[in-house]
């Protein structure tokens, strides 16, 4: 998209960005603790967030700038298939309701900060802890890079050229996260989501009016896909299983990510989490409406070389400059909140499961906070370098692999909440199988998330992450059964 400078849009954008920057630094004083020099305070906001703050924090955390850009982009490009994010964020919440309060309680009772802490606490295995922690960090890095891609799209839509604006935006983010910790994104999330709700409600009410109603939007999209010869507003039968399996796989993966768990662990009570599982679906409505902007792009007659531009382009064409600036600011700030939480999640992992585990066992809480703060800077710098020096496609492929990888920590993190049957070496073997096997499947399929299995005459196409998870659970079960069958020491095997 060739963007001309729109000074009204730019002025509104800079105003919103400035406001958020001030809030980010002021957040250190919000719900002020005695000290921020403690990992619970810096990295989890003091574990005291109630229902509303948690709602904004988790909402701001999982509906990111990249979601607001990429979901409509996929819908614009391929149609109904891109809508899988909607069933995914619907079935997500019953899972959160049932499982996350249990995980929260274990973390609260033992002062755990990360998923890897939980795994170490349950199984006492440093190697399994390391596997979970490493997976968390490597899966999070490309996710942060994606937020930068979202930010970059917004900055270019404003007409600003070059990489300097992106670097400045991320330096500001890095410094207020450093000084305020999780309080900064928690406070900024209020602004971000309020703006985003205003923007989306305005867009879904006004855009179809300008384009002749939702019926016309769907008809225009149908016509555009028919002309292109691919995609459509309905799925074709070969997409049924990919659609459902991507939704399920993404659901199981999401709350294994360090940043999602950070939001859970920062909650004041288990009940806060249950209430949020009931209230968070409000965002799913938002997401569905945003996804439909992909079709609105066709109705508005946009011909884009990069589908990521569909949302910014719609706002710039259909709205006055100041409102387009407001909308772009909402999405841009929507990159800052999750990027901050992700870097905090990764920093918590590094601090607890690398630094404390291997380098300085006697580290004080203040020492932990210091290590985490510096790590959060390093993580953001790393993501920035990825965006500046590597092709964008690389970050996208890595993000996809990240989802597949993080899904492989599911058995280690979750099974132990309900049963003591699985053994650490077995879970580690399962993790390795899923991680390596899944990576191999992704590589075979040219870094597409789907794999086609040929079973005789039937071929089924399914999300590779779920296949890898199935192999993971199978190996973990077989090896556990084998270990349990062999008597430990001189004692005889116990009956199961």
């Amino acid at each position: 998209m060739t963007a001309e400078m729109d000074y009204a849009a730019l002025a509104v954008f800079l105003f919103c960005f400035g406001l958020v920057t001030v809030m980010g630094f002021a957040a250190a004083r919000w719900r002020r603790p005695k000290t921020l020099a403690h990992l619970d305070e810096w990295g989890l906001g003091g574990r005291q967030f109630g229902t509303w703050i948690t709602w904004f924090l988790i909402g701001g955390d999982i509906y990111t700038a990249y979601t607001m850009i990429a979901v409509p982009a996929l819908v614009y490009a391929v149609g109904a298939y891109g809508f899988f994010a909607v069933p995914y964020t619907i079935i997500l919440y019953p899972f959160v309701f049932a499982v996350m309060p249990v995980l929260w309680k274990v973390a609260r009772d033992n002062n755990y900060v990360t998923a890897a802490d939980i795994v170490h606490g349950k199984y006492g295995s440093r190697s399994l802890e390391l596997a979970v922690a490493l997976t968390g960090v490597v899966a999070t890095m490309p996710y942060i890079a994606l937020q930068l891609i979202g930010m970059e799209t917004i900055i270019h839509a404003l007409g600003l050229q070059g990489e300097l604006p992106l670097i400045i935006a991320f330096l500001i983010l890095a410094f207020y996260t450093y000084s305020s910790g999780l309080r900064a994104p928690a406070l900024i999330a209020f602004v971000k989501d309020t703006m985003l709700y205003i923007v989306v409600l305005a867009a879904v009410a006004l855009i179809p009016m300008k384009l002749g109603g939702y019926g016309a939007v769907f008809r225009a999209a149908d016509a555009a896909f028919a002309a292109k010869g691919s995609g459509g507003t309905l799925l074709n039968p070969s997409q049924f299983l990919p659609y459902a399996s991507l939704a399920l796989g993404s659901t199981l993966a999401l709350f294994m990510y360090p940043h999602a768990l950070t939001g859970i662990f920062a909650s004041a009570t288990a009940n806060t989490i249950r209430k949020n599982a009931i209230l968070l679906p409000a965002y799913s409505v938002l997401l569905a409406l945003v996804a439909l902007m992909g079709f609105m792009g066709h109705a508005a007659g946009l011909k884009l070389t990069n589908s990521n531009d569909v949302v910014p382009a719609l706002f710039k064409i259909l709205f006055p400059g100041w409102f387009a600036g407001f909308a772009l600011a909402a999405i841009g700030i929507g990159a800052l909140v999750p990027a901050a939480i992700m870097s905090i999640g990764a920093a918590n992992l590094f601090t607890r499961n690398f630094w404390k585990a291997y380098i300085d066992r006697g580290v004080t809480p203040a020492g932990e906070a210091k290590v985490a703060k510096i790590t959060s800077l390093a993580v953001k710098a790393g993501a920035l370098l990825v965006i500046l020096y590597l092709p964008t496609q690389f970050a996208l492929d890595l993000q996809l692999l990240g989802g597949l990888w993080i899904l492989q920590t599911f058995p280690a993190v979750i099974f132990g909440l309900y049963t003591g049957w699985f053994r650490a070496p077995a879970l580690l073997a399962g993790w390795a199988t899923g991680f390596l096997g899944g990576t191999w499947l992704a590589w075979l399929n040219n870094f597409k998330p789907l794999h086609t299995l040929h079973l005789g005459d039937i071929s089924i196409t399914i999300y590779s992450g779920l296949l890898a998870l199935a192999a993971n659970i199978l190996i973990a079960s077989l090896v556990s059964a084998a270990i349990r069958a062999v008597p430990a020491g001189k004692s005889t095997a116990t009956q199961d």
């Binding site: 069933p87 019953p94 507003t233 299983l241 399920l248 009931i278």
Partner: protein, 64 residues
């Protein structure tokens, strides 16, 4: 496990069988069935979760 938890499985069943809702008729407010069917499961899932929540609260009043 109390049977009330089974309510939470309903959204999975409703959304897993894609061929059931992959159709454009009936249209509602211009939305093909595929779209409004999935959208309607957002409030329905919230409601089901809320019912489980109420029931659990009643069963253990001392639960945090």
């Amino acid at each position: 496990m109390r049977p009330i938890w089974l309510l939470l499985l309903i959204p999975y069943l409703a959304l897993a069988w894609v061929p059931f809702y992959n159709k454009s008729m009936p249209v509602l407010f211009g939305f093909p069935f595929f779209y409004w069917y999935q959208l309607i499961w957002v409030p329905l899932t919230s409601l089901l979760t809320y019912i489980v929540y109420l029931k659990l609260r009643r069963n253990n009043r001392n639960d945090g």
